[in-house]
Assembly symmetry: C2
Homo-oligomer: 191 residues x 2
């Protein structure tokens, strides 16, 4: 019995995620994806249309996974930053996908990412209004800085300091992210 179309698609998506994370959109090879998944290359075109559309499917799934991994908590931003750090560390290939996307499709924003972002900004504004988060910077700027801090050591950054990757170093980095987000967002401690 032939494997059904759903199994085929998910097998291709899994292989494509690894390929795109490793090589990006331009660098990915449809042949390698088909070989890794154990399917004929034509099935990629049947199910996804093109290499670019296959990337779209992979990327949307990755963004969804990142969004679900660490629920935004405007009442505990250091905790949120720690959860995001943990996720990036456990899934470096998903962060690589977002880097490729921003390099190869500059300016493109997925609707699910834009929607999630709006919700975070509203929550941040509310927390600032209640005095729980420092209100010295507007939510959109504060959120961007916070995301940048949590991604400091993510795969694909121009950060050349990551020579030591033992458990102690990972814990130190996580602590540094949590502490720095605390300093950035704690209300009333700075001018």
């Amino acid at each position: 019995m032939a494997r059904d179309s759903r199994t085929t698609k998910s097998g291709l998506l899994r292989a494509a995620t690894e390929e795109f994370a490793a090589y990006g959109i331009a660098g990915a090879r449809v042949d390698r994806i088909a070989a890794a998944a154990g399917y004929n290359k034509n099935l990629i075109y049947v199910h996804f249309g093109s290499k670019e559309q296959l990337f779209d499917a992979v990327y949307e799934a990755a963004v969804q996974e990142i969004l679900e991994a660490a629920p935004f908590d405007a009442g505990d931003l250091p905790g949120y930053a720690g959860a995001l750090f943990d996720f990036h560390y456990a899934h470096p290939h998903l962060m690589r996908l977002t880097r490729w996307h921003s390099l190869e499709r500059p300016g493109a924003v997925l609707p699910i990412a834009a929607k999630a972002n709006d919700a975070k900004l509203r929550a941040l504004a509310a927390a600032q209004g209640e005095g729980k988060v420092d209100a010295g910077l507007p939510p959109r700027l504060l959120l961007a800085l916070l995301v940048a801090l949590t991604s400091t050591w993510s795969e694909g950054t121009p950060e050349p300091l990551g020579e030591l990757m033992d458990a102690t170093e990972i814990a130190a980095r996580r602590h540094a992210v949590v502490v720095s987000v605390g300093r950035l967002t704690r209300p009333g401690t700075h001018g």
Copy 2:
């Protein structure tokens, strides 16, 4: 009279910088670089050896330019962050090169970058010792966080918040970077 080898090399390097910044190493096309520079493609192999070696030459020049653009000042880290922000904003293609490099050559560190980094870490440690910079985080972690903050809105980040790019927004982002680096590094204001 034939243009001399130096002119040829610098013309090729200029065209290659644009091509690699736009498409990365795998995506760059030697034909397009040669056409943009107005030279025969063979001259690329004569002068640089291969597409990969041409990228090396482009990347080393870019890193040198970034390093020289904003001299590190452990005594005024917010000012340093502001200068770095200005440079990134004025030269987005150089930041794109560093992103491609980290994605396509993960773990590779240029000797000039490693050397500059060591000097920054020593200066940071000294400033912490003198009580000028908060000593709650070790220099290597603090420097990485600081660089991440200055690069928040750099080309090639997964940052989807950059819809408004007028002068007011640029100034607001610069201010946010400077303020947040201040909060992160000012001594004695946090636990």
